[in-house]
């Protein structure tokens, strides 16, 4: 994720990218932290029936996946891994027995992932036995040790979470003093703002939370939340899901007033539930030391070389051969229509929301009781009624200051739980962005011949053979995965990156096998014998192939200096295409301000008219 500051560097950029809120909430500064406190007693290493992995193994896989996902999505977060009930002890002052701090609280890196790998599987159990060993249990000591981890951190921590992984519901075997100590230490931790969760695992005879752990874990965030899951996790997926749901602190991108009119206002938080994950931007390093360097951009006067301050500069555009000049403030003012917020226009039946009216990924809103009390019940009433009447709310939306309005559809979504009683869909409204007239292009659609029933029926058979249940989290981004595998390989000095499985590729063989003769039958129905759909009619392609394959086929024409000079002199650079201009700039090492055609031409003209 890109640093938000980068977006302010280029002032001319539209503020549209705004939503990159990597910092999330403006009010909370500081880092998130997460401590895994894992039981390392013998019971944890008992293998499940029919070769199921042991609880310990499952926990380590889960921790590993959190590490790697943190590396990708939030590399500033801090994570620690602590074992309790070990034979060996290792902690900062070695003042706690049977507590092993495997990873101190820090941001996860490649080495840590390798460390976890050592604890995985059969070998991992062996390794754990050698390094950790199983010993006495004192959860109180362990919690105390964890609280020291937090207090040793010099940075500001915004969100502190501690997850206990265990399959023992009575860790001290009835030792009341130890129980009491654990309770006290847990209370101390909670007082300093640490949220304690229990990730309890299966145990023969069932895990009884009420025996001991109900006093240790943090109370649910509000009375409604299912604080302690009744069922312990049996499967890795369940555990991962449960950990994942807690591991990320949800943060509002912004908090806004939702105005129904006549002074009826409620407060909502705006959340991003899906955003295209991008390859992070590169960091510039100093060649000699591999130390990160910062960039500074400054403006100076071309003639006298003086540094230009913001008010020494103005903004300009040229229209109809006339230069129009404005102050930076005025450019901002133009974008201001109203204060930030959501304003209700009215309601429409759901079928008025067109599938193809899509311009941006959706947002999500949820009431903010802390800003305007009563928001939640108003919001709930709206949610219930909208979903009952099958309508959506149409609103005008201004996300922040000096941003022009957009219209959005608020689509109600009621809460749904999955089989394991975990929330599958949260309650709230999805914010769907609607296009303005300018955003809809006129496509010259035409009616060709249509298919006969027989042809359609044959296709239905094909469709039927290839049906599957789509799940939105089923596909990994191969570009990102490859990128991180590459980095991993470089960071860990591996010979070559681990291969990735590209889930976006069609499984052609399997499809062919499932379809069998259907493909040919369909082709016989729709295509005449001499028709080859893979043949490329030349005439059609020429006009449209602007980007892709075209570049490959066309041999690169390098412009000679004379040719370019000629173009500059005659002012005919405009006739060249953008790729040619770009190549020319590259060829002569000319720096450009951007990649727009005019910018390229300007740069070339400057270079050659000197």
């Amino acid at each position: 994720m890109a640093e938000w500051r980068e977006y302010y560097r280029n002032e001319d950029d539209e503020v549209e990218e705004d939503e990159e809120d990597s910092g999330g909430d403006y009010k909370i500064s500081g880092r998130d932290s997460l401590v895994f406190l894992v039981d390392a007693s013998k019971e944890m290493f008992i293998k499940g029936e029919d070769g199921e992995p042991s609880n310990f193994d499952m926990t380590m896989q889960c921790v590993r996946s959190v590490y790697t996902s943190k590396i990708i999505s939030s590399d500033k977060d801090m994570v620690a891994l602590v074992f309790y009930g070990t034979e060996q002890s290792k902690n900062p002052r070695n003042s706690f027995k049977h507590v092993y701090v495997y990873h101190d609280l820090d941001s996860p890196g490649s080495q840590r992932v390798l460390d976890i790998d050592k604890l995985l599987g059969e070998k991992g159990a062996q390794f754990a036995e050698n390094t950790l060993g199983c010993g006495e249990t004192s959860l109180g000591e362990a919690l105390w040790c964890c609280s020291n981890l937090y207090s040793d951190i010099k940075l500001r921590l915004s969100h502190k979470r501690l997850m206990i992984f265990t399959c023992r519901d009575d860790p001290h075997g009835g030792d009341g003093a130890k129980d009491r100590q654990a309770r006290t230490k847990a209370a101390d931790l909670k007082e300093t703002g640490v949220v304690i969760d229990l990730m309890h695992l299966t145990k023969p005879g069932g895990f009884d939370v009420s025996l001991f752990f109900c006093d240790i874990v943090s109370p649910p965030e509000d009375e409604s939340e299912l604080g302690i899951q009744i069922e312990p996790c049996r499967k890795l997926q369940d555990l991962q899901k449960r950990v994942r749901a807690k591991e990320l602190k949800k943060r509002a991108q912004s908090r806004l007033t939702f105005s129904l009119g006549e002074g009826v206002n409620l407060a909502v938080g705006v959340y991003v539930l899906a955003r295209t994950a991008m390859k992070p931007s590169a960091v510039k390093l100093h060649r000699d030391t591999n130390e990160a360097v910062r960039t500074k951009t400054r403006y100076f006067h071309a003639h006298n070389g003086g540094i230009l301050l913001p008010n020494d500069m103005k903004r300009s555009q040229v229209y109809g051969k006339k230069q129009i000049v404005m102050e930076k403030d005025e450019v901002d003012e133009i974008k201001k229509f109203d204060d930030p917020g959501l304003v209700l226009m009215g309601f429409k039946p759901m079928d008025r929301l067109k599938l193809h009216h899509h311009i941006r990924p959706a947002l999500f809103i949820y009431p903010e009781e802390e800003q305007i009390s009563g928001s939640s019940s108003m919001f709930t009433a709206l949610l219930l009624k909208c979903s009952e009447k099958n309508v959506f709310a149409l609103c005008r939306y201004i996300p922040r200051r000096n941003t022009p309005p957009r219209f959005v559809a608020l689509v109600p979504q009621r809460e749904e739980l999955d089989q394991s009683q975990t929330q599958a869909t949260p309650p709230g409204f999805h914010v769907i962005f609607l296009p303005f007239a300018d955003d809809i292009r006129t496509v010259d659609a035409h009616m060709g011949p249509t298919a006969s029933d027989e042809q359609v029926d044959k296709m239905k058979e094909i469709v039927h053979k290839l049906r599957f249940k789509y799940k939105s989290d089923a596909f990994e981004n191969p570009v990102l995965q490859q990128h991180y595998r590459n980095l991993e390989a470089l960071a860990l000095n591996m010979l070559e990156p681990e291969p990735i499985e590209d889930l976006t590729m069609p499984k052609v063989q399997m499809m062919d096998a499932r379809l069998g003769p259907l493909t040919q039958e369909f082709k016989d129905l729709v295509y005449p014998d001499d028709y080859n759909p893979e043949g490329k009619p030349a005439a059609k392609r020429k006009t449209a192939e602007s980007g892709g394959g075209g570049a490959e086929k066309k041999p690169k024409v390098e412009m000679s200096q004379d040719e370019l000079k000629n173009h500059v002199a005659k002012g005919t650079l405009g006739k060249l295409t953008v790729p040619v201009l770009k190549d020319a700039c590259k060829q002569f090492g000319i720096r450009t301000t951007g990649t727009k055609k005019q910018e390229l031409i300007d740069a070339l003209t400057m270079h050659f008219s000197k």
Binding site: D12, K70, S73, S107, L248, T276, A282, K284, R287, N290, K296, A302, H303, M313, R315, V318, Y319, V325, M326, F337, K348, R352, L355, H356, H358, P361, S376, S377, M378, T380, A381, L383, K385, K389, P404, Q423, G428, H430, P435, I440, R441, H446, G448, K460, F468, Y470, S472, A474, N477, P478, Q481, N486, M511, D512, Q520, F522, V526, P533, G547, G548
Partner: protein, 727 residues
């Protein structure tokens, strides 16, 4: 590149004297016509297309046209030949377009325009040739050439548009009782106001238009006011969609040729702002430079060539050169639209649509076999309510996407609609507290029915006469207000460089508001909702960091505000427990101080003296734990000084404290004062104070230079010396 359609257009405006006549209180037709032309040219300038525009005036005092020989075609002036419109033209219209004193035959003017169009479009390719006539028809015309003219227009493929001050069917309407307020509700002059020439002229207009375009021709006749309303909207940004030919594949051997077009995407302004020098307004005067520097104290600069590329991998930064990256990165094998499988449409959630566009997929225009094959797929999907999940790659260089292709069957065409779907990495699983079964938030029956009524009153669809429901607020018909406002401001600034920016145009404001009909209907239900739902703004805590936040407001260290709240109760307790307090102690100096002031057992001066003594002691420790306590003391000192109307002691103490900051290394402490805004007491707070509000506000800022000047001036006052002695 697809070549944009270009058109040539001649504006032909009547400036004859009759155009300046109007009924009292009405704008003369001349002014209206001028505005139409202005708005039109303005739109053209900002649309930045290749259209060419000419301007011909008739009824002018002079004559300037190529047909004017032997006294023919007099009083007709070709003001501007066909060329791309620019600001110069706009300025000319603004300043030079004046009413003339003559009258000229509009048919003659039309002939001049035809001549202009034909001569000046020779050798150039235009898709459309158009002449726009703006006149009140108030002149004798010679009809003998009419047939020839119509014939020539048809032959040359020139289209005509008329803009008149009155509606074409004005007469009929007047006869029909005059209650039908036309589609535009234009202030039309009643038909009976037309004179004989105008009536005759109207007949001719009708004649020409119907013979050119038959029935539809009459739709090209507008009134000025109608046109103005339409033209005030800047042209929407119009882009020709680019065709993207590809092949849809299902398995290894089923291939269908397709063409994709971007159908919906967020349009951006074409031009960005260039940075220019404030004085010269020259872009070249501003140079931008990016330097790299090390993250050390000196910010040592590093040459660009001495930097390499790296990426963060968690806490590590991995050097990874551009060359290596290109070598190792994911490579896709070119453009594709490959079906991965088919799934139920309902499994694809609308809110999980990703990306910023919708692509419409058709069969190529000339390929009927592909059309049949694609049609079979579209219809099969449609009847099964399914969609295709596809891998989509625009070209070899772009990242592959996984998306959904939905069937779309319309009266006029069929296609697939492609939308990008999320990758696993894009999704964030947030859990939110439950709302529905939460006792605190469950709305009551009466609250629910209030919301029910509100929704009913605010429906943005209406039933028309045929019982069809009509959308009365179509967002996709609203022009993007951002562009409208931008062009309005650019135009305004272009014409009046020294004026401030104009306000948002009323029509634009209006389209962004709730429709009036709805706002009237929902009044009562909204009031009901307002009374049934108690909504109260929670007073927010100060967002700024206070000292309490820095050191944690844990139980043992009460923060300053808490002290204030607790005052009342604590006094009483203290009085009961300890009898009378006689001096400010070190355990709870704030409480003691406040008690002393209240009991008035010692003088105010003495109490302050004791307090400052304690503050100095606390500060002497120079450790953060004591800072909070000191701050609380200073806060109490200030509060009590304000309430007893004695600012002098506090102000002089604070000033001396400030002077001692550098010597005693109390910068950190001073920062806390700044955060809590504990500054001098100003005149506004206490009458006797010699400090102005502004000075008080600036006081906390630590400026070395000012410091030196301020110090000696203060040293003369006796109180300060006393206070300094105590330290």
């Amino acid at each position: 590149m697809a070549r944009a359609a270009r058109s040539a257009l001649v504006l032909c405006m009547d400036v004859g004297f009759s155009m300046s006549n109007s009924e009292p209180g009405q704008e003369p037709p001349f002014e209206q016509a001028k505005k139409v032309i202005q708005k039109f040219v303005q739109r053209q300038v900002f649309a930045e297309n290749k259209d060419e525009v000419g301007l011909v005036l008739f009824g002018t005092d002079g004559t300037k046209n190529s047909l004017a020989i032997d006294g023919q075609y007099e009083n007709i002036t070709v003001h501007r030949h066909l060329m791309m419109p620019d600001f110069e033209l706009l300025e000319e219209i603004e300043s030079e377009l004046q009413p003339g004193g003559q009258q000229a035959d509009w048919l003659d003017a039309l002939v001049v325009c035809m001549d202009l169009v034909q001569k000046e479009t020779m050798g150039k390719k235009f898709e459309r040739l158009n002449i726009v006539l703006l006149t009140d028809l108030n002149v004798q015309t010679s009809t003998d050439q009419l047939d020839v003219i119509i014939d020539n227009l048809k032959k040359a493929g020139i289209t005509l548009q008329f803009f008149l001050p009155f509606p074409l069917d004005g007469e009929d309407r007047a006869d029909g009782g005059g209650d039908g307020p036309g589609p535009s509700a234009a202030p039309a002059r009643p038909g009976k106001g037309l004179n004989e020439q105008q009536t005759q002229g109207l007949e001719m207009v009708r004649n020409i238009m119907t013979s050119l375009e038959e029935e539809d021709g009459l739709e090209e006749v507008y009134t000025f006011s109608d046109a103005l309303e339409k033209l005030s909207i800047f042209k929407r940004i119009d882009r020709r969609p680019m065709a993207w030919p590809c092949q849809l594949t299902i398995g290894s051997s089923l291939t269908i040729r397709i063409v994709g077009y971007k159908a919906v995407t967020e349009e951006k302004v074409k031009k960005s702002w260039a940075i220019v020098d404030a004085q010269s307004h020259q872009r070249d005067d501003v140079k931008r430079e990016t330097v790299y520097c090390l993250n050390d104290d000196n910010e040592t600069e590093v040459q660009k060539d001495d930097t390499i590329q790296g990426f963060r991998y968690g806490s590590d930064i991995v050097p990874f050169s551009k060359v290596d990256e290109d070598q190792m990165k994911y490579k896709s094998d070119g453009k594709c639209f490959s079906v991965l499988g088919f799934t139920k449409q309902e499994l694809i959630r609308r809110h999980q649509f990703m990306g910023d566009q919708v692509v419409k997929v058709f069969a190529p225009r000339d390929d009927k076999h592909a059309a049949v094959a694609l049609s079979a797929l579209i219809r099969a999907l449609d009847s099964l309510k399914m969609a295709a999940i596809v891998r989509y790659a625009y070209d070899r260089r772009s990242n592959p996407q996984v998306g959904a292709a939905f069937p779309c069957i319309k009266d006029k065409y069929e296609c697939l609609l492609y939308v990008k779907l999320p990758y696993m990495e894009d999704l964030r699983q947030f859990t939110f507290p439950m709302l529905e079964n939460n006792k605190k938030f469950t709305p009551s029956e009466s609250q629910l029915s209030a919301v029910d009524a509100l929704i009913d009153s605010m429906m943005l669809v209406e039933k028309d006469e045929d019982g069809e429901s009509v959308d009365i607020f179509k967002v996709n018909h609203i022009p993007n207000p951002q562009f409208q406002r931008l062009f309005q401001c650019l135009h305004h600034r272009g014409v009046n460089p020294d004026d401030p920016l104009p306000p948002v145009e009323p029509w634009l404001k209006r389209v962004l508001e709730r429709p009036q009909a709805v706002s009237a209907l929902c009044q009562a239900p909204l009031q009901d909702v307002k009374t049934k739902f108690p909504l109260k703004v929670v007073v927010k805590k100060k967002a700024q960091k206070t000292s309490a936040d820095v050191f944690g407001s844990s139980a043992d260290e009460p923060d300053t505000k808490k002290v204030k709240v607790d005052e009342e109760t604590e006094f009483n307790l203290a009085e009961i427990a300890a009898g009378n307090i006689t001096s400010v102690g070190s355990v709870n100096p704030v409480r003691d101080f406040c008690a002393l002031i209240r009991q008035k057992t010692v003088s105010f001066d003495l109490a302050c003296q004791q307090l400052t003594h304690r503050i100095e002691q606390l500060l002497g420790n120079r450790s953060p734990e004591y800072y909070t306590k000191s701050i609380a003391c200073i806060q109490a000192f200030r509060d009590q000084s304000v309430s007893s109307g004695n600012a002098e002691l506090f102000n002089s103490y604070l000033q001396s404290l400030k002077r001692s900051v550098p010597d005693r290394n109390l910068e950190e402490f001073w920062d806390l004062l700044i955060r809590d805004a504990l500054t001098l007491i100003s005149k506004d707070e206490v009458d006797g104070s010699t400090i102005s509000k502004q000075d008080a506000n600036q006081f906390l800022a630590f400026e070395q230079k000012e410091e030196v000047q301020a110090a000696p001036a203060q040293e003369d006052t006796g109180d300060v010396d006393d206070l300094l002695d105590m330290m």
